[in-house]
């Protein structure tokens, strides 16, 4: 390869050039028709197919996928994993007791089965996470898409609104909302409290992406063809700029689960009648010196779930972003 450009080609006969080791094109040239021909047999390719081909080769995609599947299974069918009722079979005589047969992780201070409470708390975490990302995606896409696509005063207006919500750290905001709504604590209010302040990051990511996508030739072509602005946005621009939103949404899901646990841990989250890992950790923290197990197990469940979603978010982000793939 180095021969191709390190030596200056000298005008002369082909034979002398060949002896110097220059590249000489074969005489039988490929006909242009063959070059231009559409190869039907070639595999179809677009961003999504490429991403899938990249992701499925990576072990961490399958590991995080399996973990997420397990967590979903536990959340939807807790009965498959435990038959012990989380609340009814509590016996104070077993307070902070060690593990026994049928109760693999021991007992809480109230004498309830730790394993059963963890299993039954799974759906709370996931429900909050899913409601929050629905909320942040809808708000983020609406704000980000219109701000980025229309530009001008609408962009300034929507971006300033985003800045306002972005400037209040969302845990602090959620603390305020949940303290005010202390009588209305439920999965819905806590999701609302987190989601209302978590959307600007989605909007910012989408806006930046749309700003670059709307410069594309196909957008200009559609405009020249007289396609309406709104239709261009929804048919052409949005589908081509949604990829980073998907990656950030997976990570927001993890962040929302952490936020719920943090709020419940602070005591402004879900009511104690609702099973939640944050509540379990909150209840167990007083006995950390003597009975760390009641604290450790819910923490592990929480961390593993969050880890699975963050790992999946990383895989998706790298698969959808050729630039990130190069950093690997």
């Amino acid at each position: 390869m180095s021969n191709d450009f390190t030596e200056t080609p000298v005008a002369g006969s082909a034979a002398s050039a060949r002896s110097r080791g220059h590249f000489v094109a074969p005489l039988e040239e490929t006909p242009l028709v063959a070059i231009d021909a559409v190869k039907v047999a070639e595999k179809r390719s677009n961003l999504w197919i490429d991403a899938w081909r990249d992701a499925r080769r990576r072990p961490i995609f399958w590991i995080s996928g399996a973990l997420i599947f397990l967590v979903l299974l536990v959340a939807v069918f807790p009965g498959l994993f435990t038959s012990v009722a989380p609340n009814n079979d509590c016996q104070l005589s077993l307070s902070n007791g060690a593990a026994t047969a049928g109760h693999p992780l021991g007992f809480t201070k109230q004498g309830c089965d730790v394993y059963s409470r963890i299993i039954n708390g799974t759906s709370t975490s996931l429900t909050v996470g899913i409601i929050v990302i629905l909320l942040t995606t809808v708000l983020g896409v609406v704000f980000g898409a219109f701000a980025g696509f229309y530009g001008g005063w609408l962009d300034s207006f929507l971006s300033r609104i985003g800045d306002i919500f972005f400037s209040i750290p969302y845990i602090l905001a959620a603390v305020v909302i949940m303290s005010v709504l202390s009588e209305y604590r439920s999965v819905w209010t806590i999701s609302l409290a987190i989601g209302i302040f978590a959307w600007p990051s989605t909007a910012r990511v989408l806006r930046a992406e749309i700003l670059s996508v709307k410069q594309s030739d196909y957008v200009m072509a559609s405009e020249a063809l007289g396609v309406s602005k709104l239709r261009i946005l929804f048919r052409h621009v949005l589908p081509n700029s949604i990829a980073p939103v998907i990656a950030i949404t997976t990570i927001s899901l993890a962040a929302a689960i952490v936020a719920e646990a943090t709020l419940s841990f602070l005591g402004v989250g879900l009511g104690s009648d609702i099973m939640s890992w944050g509540n379990e950790i909150n209840q167990a923290q007083r006995d950390i010196r003597t009975h760390p197990q009641t604290l450790i197990y819910p923490s592990i469940a929480l961390s593993v779930t969050v880890f699975a979603f963050i790992l999946m978010g990383e895989v998706i982000r790298e698969a959808l972003d050729p630039k990130a793939r190069a950093l690997r």
């Binding site: 919500f165 400037s167 209040i168 750290p169 602090l172 303290s179 709504l181 943090t262 923290q285």
Partner: protein
């Protein structure tokens, strides 16, 4: 540069008004009565409720209440805490502790993060790089209170290297364990940021030129690569300083650090609504100011930012 500073300051005004209005709105316009909430489960005396309403101007229209409150903020009056102390007085006592904690944490995460991130970036794809990426992902996944409890249990209870809670006056050696906990999260982010930035810079033309003119790695790595990779890292560190100042609520609470975050934590736990609001407002203001400073710093470091419309 002057134009950039002016533009950035003007942009901050609507955000400042918006954030304070939003916090105020959340507390006093949402369902749920803050005055009734003060009394917890007890039924309050109607006369006291009426007096408290007048004291907090709750009998006035919403906009008037907000303006009174804003007037107070501009005069440096952030209200009175539940125990009767002015919020500014509590801040004067607690803020230096939080500042000290934030500085120690920032030092730890900067030194460790940049060092580890740089080595990982220079040895892309090797074992050290892979391990670092895995560890940083795990650190990011651990909620801060889990890290805090594990640190408290392992280093405080089992090994006995540090005290589990901070003593009176917050001596600096007691702050080291909570600072490590705070630093652990940002450490992972800094490692990742430094790593990708170093990899990107290493591939640039001027680095190749430096190698081809015969410079050694000892000069290229710190001077050519590292210095040019640090702009995003420095910006992140500055933003993180703001987060450390306001976001240490949970860590300060668990380690009982007598700082701003802990005061908020105690107020939340005791359900002292008005104190919570005052402190959240103050924290948001600190956060806004730090972010403003970060943007100005960014404009200073990277001329391209200044000239964008």
């Amino acid at each position: 540069m002057a134009g950039y500073i002016l533009r950035r300051l003007l942009q901050a005004i609507p955000v400042f008004i918006g954030t304070t209005f939003l916090i105020y709105f959340m507390v006093f316009a949402l369902p749920g009565d803050p005055i009734i909430a003060l009394f917890g489960d007890k039924t309050p005396n109607p006369a006291i409720v009426a007096q408290l309403r007048a004291q907090y101007h709750l009998d006035q229209p919403f906009i008037v209440q907000y303006l009174i409150y804003m007037g107070g903020i501009f005069r440096g009056d952030f209200g009175i805490s539940f125990s009767g102390q002015p919020v500014t007085e509590i801040l004067a006592r607690t803020f230096p502790v939080t500042l000290r904690l934030a500085v120690i944490a920032l030092l730890i995460e900067t030194i460790a993060g940049i060092l580890v991130g740089m080595i990982a970036g220079l040895r892309k794809g090797k074992i050290f790089d892979g391990t670092t990426l895995a560890v940083s992902l795990i650190l990011i996944s651990l909620p801060v209170f889990v890290i805090a409890f594990v640190a408290q249990f392992v280093f405080g209870v089992q090994l006995g290297w540090a005290r589990t809670t901070v003593g009176t006056g917050a001596p600096t050696q007691d702050l080291i364990l909570p600072a490590f906990v705070l630093a652990s999260i940002s450490f992972a982010q800094i490692v990742r940021l430094t790593r990708s930035s170093v990899i990107e810079t290493s591939g640039l033309d001027f680095v190749r030129t430096a190698y081809s003119k015969g410079l050694g790695r000892r000069r290229i790595v710190p001077v050519h690569i590292l210095r040019n990779s640090l702009i995003p890292v420095v910006t992140y560190l500055a933003t993180d300083f703001g987060v450390l100042l306001v976001g240490a609520t949970v860590t300060e609470g668990i380690f009982n650090v007598p700082g701003v975050g802990n005061t908020l934590y105690q107020a939340i736990i005791r359900g002292e609504g008005p104190t919570v609001v005052s402190f959240v407002t103050v924290m948001v203001l600190i956060y806004l100011l730090v972010n403003l400073a970060v943007d100005l710093l960014y404009g200073l470091l990277d001329p391209r930012i200044r000239y964008v419309k």
